[in-house]
Symmetry: C2
Subunit: 694 residues, 2 copies
């Protein structure tokens, strides 16, 4: 997960792996291919035509497809092909495509006021400096700016991104292709999924980013990736660019231990319980099932991932490995001139981490309670927004500034699409009951005051809150967004009153959190300096842990030996679709696909060495969540695949990279081309991408 | 599954596959290596030393190991190493090693009296001729003779075998090595089982076969196979010799249909039900569990095999393939001069098969009822033996002749080791209740008279039979074996009286069966002639379906692609043992093995290309039940493996050979050598086999 700027340093290794371009070119964000790689929804994507066509995953665009589906028009099930541009369907208003245009080191500016401070003050100094930089940067219209923290507070970069806000759905395969295998095959190889969707970015007629308007025109991207028409095979060089969300590979040994001993097991238990609640509450309610489809999908994904991470970290003996490595690093450190000061900071960081861990059960439950509800979250967000509006914009909490209000409005608008009163009340009651079971030391007075102190009380009070609130109405929510803090704090609406009562606690917990974060921002750089120095002594470079900034990985199309005597082959074929087909979800391949497979009419998209049509392929590229939709390129930068998943054996890679098991799973571009040529034809889109008609 | 005599015909194909010996030598039973290949228990084996050491599977010798296990001496769990010859433990008295010494075509003699006859008469003519031949042959002491029916009545051979009756247990690994993975891994690749055991055949001091005596001496075999000390790898030539029990590949299309539509599903249901009964009845009775361990193992094996066969036959679309092939054969036949007579016989055979199928449910239940009980079977056997003794020996039913009496006595003696009254009564009551649910047309008056007509009646009567019988006593059973028919028929023992009441029905059903069999013996050769002719027209040879005679298969060490994107590698390693180890049966590798793996102390038995110790390997050799324990040889006849199982994807191969999926699973001789050198050392046995000490 190299920053593009690091690539010239490792150019020789890339070239010996098979790269045939110039690493220097890859390091420049304003040059192809990097300027064709974009952030899409929560994932990645790439421009694939000069008219703003964006290729990403079906699951990254799933919200867009769901947003455009109705009882009478099932785009999730049937897919969608826009016959022409007029038929391209607007995405949900908060859906974004972001084009990175700048990446500048600003460490001195961010840390200038922080020197000598501690805790919350250290945090605030960085926060204020970051806000000032962002505000200045966003004076340029259409730009979204952010400050990226590299190496845990060691270095800061300003990231500039063009914010494209009018995104439209162009081509989606049926869900039984785009998500073939569903949760059963999730994280599994061999895989047979056509997990891709084409979107198009639109801008105002003058070329500037704008919200949806029928007058908008397709965006002309700075560059687009050519889709390859060549064959690919085991051993071929491959590289991938995208926006990996977060990794923890350089966390401290005690954090590895917490992850394995508590975090993953407790998360799996929590998500499993939420799924049971949703299942029970939606069992007899088809409409509610549709509303919660996306949340269920996300919880199932999270549950499976937590279990896989745990298995993987145990299989790789990650805790022991990290302890050994950290111990060796500390031993090495003792020979260095600055050992004493660095050691002091590292030990101080350990103490902070212990404090943070002491309320982890409560913090997990409260975060879940606010993240996985719609109406309660809306009420809390509205109260907080009103509170923040009492400050100058630049001092508001990130996420509640003027620049964030459109996003908040989008969220408030789409509550209706993801909310059923009975389900939310049941979820909330169950989470609160878990909170109430915690020891007194972790309880929060304001929460106890709002929800009571027994599960029975909580159920009754939640029922009363939801019976009395008017926030289920979209117009009411949007009106409340315009209300001032005093009016909102004194609202008669019971849910808004509850949110007002919780707010002091939330602000207090946030302050505690920021105090800890500030200390860790101050102290972790010592750990990173020791680690980078120790690695240099071993002749190795260190990339910063992933933080949703643009990164590059290189490697090759690879087999995987998951266990003794078993080898996973790196290319799957359409025969596997037929083998897996049962006729029942998630193995319900659509009839036109099965017929096309039976006909064997593959033409120019078939893999000659296999004599059939490939579907997915496997590489050893380094990815994590956020890399969904990342373009996979060959040695010359042509688009050969679309990243969409990792293998089950490697979901622990966000914490520990184990080359024996880390693989990434991609849609073979030849499968996409075949589907668009022969199965669900879209010749006009193939032509737009400069691809042959079959 | 070629008869050795066919090998010269296919010598060229063997040589181009890599064979480096002379096919003509393989075809001679009296020359090495064929005269080292023996029949052992229900399986195969090979002599591996000049002092009568026999190598076979742990599961083929399981009865011997069980027979020598007691509460205080758990040879199943702990394994056994005889420190010297005095410590070698006598097998159960009915355990045999048979050395084939002759194989002679005698078709004309067997069929001489059958010409012009039909049904039972045709059957009897063959039966009488066979008995006469066998009687004449067995005049030579120590010989066991049999007539082998090739190509379903087309050809008959006299098989002469030296019958070694004093077999002793020499070396068995712990059960958690010999059966590592147990039922979970049964039929599964990748596999990690040390499924081997060494026995030794003893003879009287004068060199002739004899029952156990402390005065006996080790048998000097005509030849023994050298255990290879070379490495083996993917693609290497391999061949195997042994006694495959039965295949059905040349059965008629309607029989394929019956197998898939009825036989396999109904067998799976029946075995599953018997296992449930045994489990329920032994749940609180550890002693009974030991007594039924062998039967449970055999039922589990049969259940899994039935399901696997069904899956495999469906995957290979076997019924359709056989119908297409048979239709093409019949079309080809119409162009042949003898088409009319052959067609008449084939159509007549179809009518007989239909009749047989009309009582298949009853026939399956009654056969199971007699096969899977101990006391009822003993009573029925005793009555039948007394009845048969009323005839001249040569006219007795096979299995009840003088030559069989020692085997019967052995069975009667070991009842105690496999019988618990409550379990047998529960099994019997359940089987009878299924029989009673059949339509009236399939019911048998004598059975209804003995067991009643309702399940409740059956339970009561069975309880009374078992409460009153003295057959649970070994001495009583053996005494009954000496009683004459009149005394036995008039016995007061209720179980003997029940057996006497059932006997007329059993004889009548046997007569019906033989009538059908006679017709099929008369009619099937037409089908085989058509098939052989049709195959010749395609340039292909036809081996006879397996019938427990010595056969040879050749091929190579091979990967298997069980499904799209997955390749099974042909060599497994000890790392897989550690991976699978859970500490709980059946993945409870013993500590000395795990320690030795962790030490990595493999020496000369390691596979250099993998840098570790191999365990099992996979070939595409053609095997079926009975091939357990077959020696696997390299291109020069050295012993490189010991066959012990097939892969799950190929258990349907007894009906249909599908080269995509048919594989055989072998113990790598290097694993055996390593275990005997480093883990459970037996240097004296390695020396006896001429093998290095490590």
């Amino acid at each position: 997960m190299w920053m593009p700027s690091q690539l010239p340093e490792i150019a020789e290794r890339m070239e010996s792996a098979g790269f045939r371009g110039r690493a220097g070119e890859l390091s420049e964000l304003a040059r192809p291919p990097m300027n064709a790689v974009v952030r899409v929804g929560g994932g990645s994507g790439a421009f694939v035509s000069n008219d703003g066509l964006v290729l990403t995953n079906h699951h990254v665009a799933f919200g867009v497809i769901q947003y455009n589906s109705t009882a009478g028009r099932d785009l999730i099930g049937e897919g969608y092909i826009a016959a022409d541009r007029a038929a391209e369907l607007p995405a949900n208003p908060d859906y974004r495509v972001l084009v990175t245009t700048g990446f500048e080191r600003i460490t001195d500016r961010i840390l200038a006021d922080a020197h000598g401070k501690r805790g919350r003050d250290y945090f605030d100094a960085i926060d204020h400096a970051s806000k000032a930089v962002v505000a200045e940067c966003e004076r340029e219209p259409g730009l979204r700016c952010s400050v990226a923290n590299m190496y845990y507070g060691t270095d800061f970069h300003l990231v500039k991104q063009l914010e494209l806000r009018d995104i439209r759905l162009v081509y989606a395969p049926p869900g039984s292709i785009g998500n073939y295998g569903g949760e059963v095959d999730n994280f599994i190889w061999p895989r047979h999924s056509g997990d891709f969707t084409l979107l198009r970015a639109y801008v105002a007629p003058d070329g500037t980013p704008a919200g949806y308007s029928p007058d908008n025109v397709p965006f002309t991207p700075p560059a687009h990736l050519p889709v390859s028409t060549r064959n690919v095979k085991e051993g071929d060089y491959a590289m991938l660019a995208g926006y990996p969300g977060i990794t923890y590979r350089h966390r401290m040994a005690s954090e590895f231990e917490g992850q394995v001993e508590w975090q993953l097991p407790s998360r799996a238990a929590l998500f499993g319980r939420m799924l049971e609640v949703i299942e029970a509450e939606t069992a007899d309610d088809a409409e509610a099932r549709v509303l919660y489809a996306s949340q269920v999908r996300s919880l199932l994904n999270g549950l499976k991932r937590a279990r896989g991470e745990l298995d993987g970290l145990k299989r790789s003996d990650a805790v022991a490995a990290r302890v050994v490595d950290e111990t060796a690093m500390l031993a090495w450190l003792e020979g260095q001139s600055d050992a004493a000061t660095i050691r002091t900071d590292i030990y101080a960081a350990r103490v902070v981490l212990k404090q943070v861990a002491s309320t982890r059960e409560r913090d997990q439950l409260l975060a879940t309670l606010l993240r996985h509800t719609q109406l309660l979250r809306a009420a809390v967000t509205l109260q907080r927004l009103a509170f923040e509006r009492g400050k100058p914009d630049a001092q508001r909490e990130p996420g509640y500034q003027q620049r964030d209000e459109a996003l908040i409005e989008g969220q408030l608008r789409q509550v209706q699409r993801r909310y059923a009163p009975a389900v939310e009340q049941a979820l909330l009651a169950d989470l609160v009951s878990q909170y109430l079971a915690l020891p007194a030391g972790q309880r929060v007075a304001e929460f106890d005051a709002v929800f009571g102190t027994t599960a029975e009380q909580a159920r009754e009070r939640i029922a009363a809150l939801y019976a009395g609130t008017a926030l289920g109405d979209e117009a009411t929510r949007l009106a409340a967004m315009q209300a001032d803090a005093v009016a909102l704090a004194g609202s008669d609406d019971p849910l808004l009153r509850a949110a007002a009562a919780l707010q002091p606690a939330l602000l207090r917990l946030e302050d505690e959190f920021k105090t800890h974060e500030g200390e860790l921002l101050r102290l972790r750089p010592a750990y990173m300096r020791a680690l980078i120095g120790y690695r240099q002594s071993q002749g190795r470079a260190v990339y910063p842990d992933a933080n949703a900034t643009l990164r590059v990985s290189y490697g090759r199309i690879s087999t995987l030996d998951p266990r003794d005597g078993v080898r996973y082959l790196p290319l799957t074929t359409v025969q596997g679709i037929a083998e897996k087909h049962t006729g029942e979800e998630p193995f319900d391949a659509p009839r036109p696909l099965l017929d096309a497979i039976a006909r064997g009419d593959f033409g120019g998209t078939a893999e000659p060495s296999l004599g059939t049509q490939t579907v997915n392929f496997l590489t050893n590229l380094d990815t994590t969540g956020g890399n969904s939709g990342s373009p996979v390129m060959d040695a010359e930068g042509r688009l050969i695949g679309l990243n969409f998943d990792s293998n089950w054996e490697s979901v622990s890679a966000s914490w520990m990279y184990d080359p024996r098991y880390k693989r990434a799973i991609h849609v073979d571009m030849r499968y996409m081309r075949w589907l668009m040529a022969k199965v669900y034809p879209a010749p006009h889109l193939l032509a737009e991408m400069g691809l042959p008609a079959e």
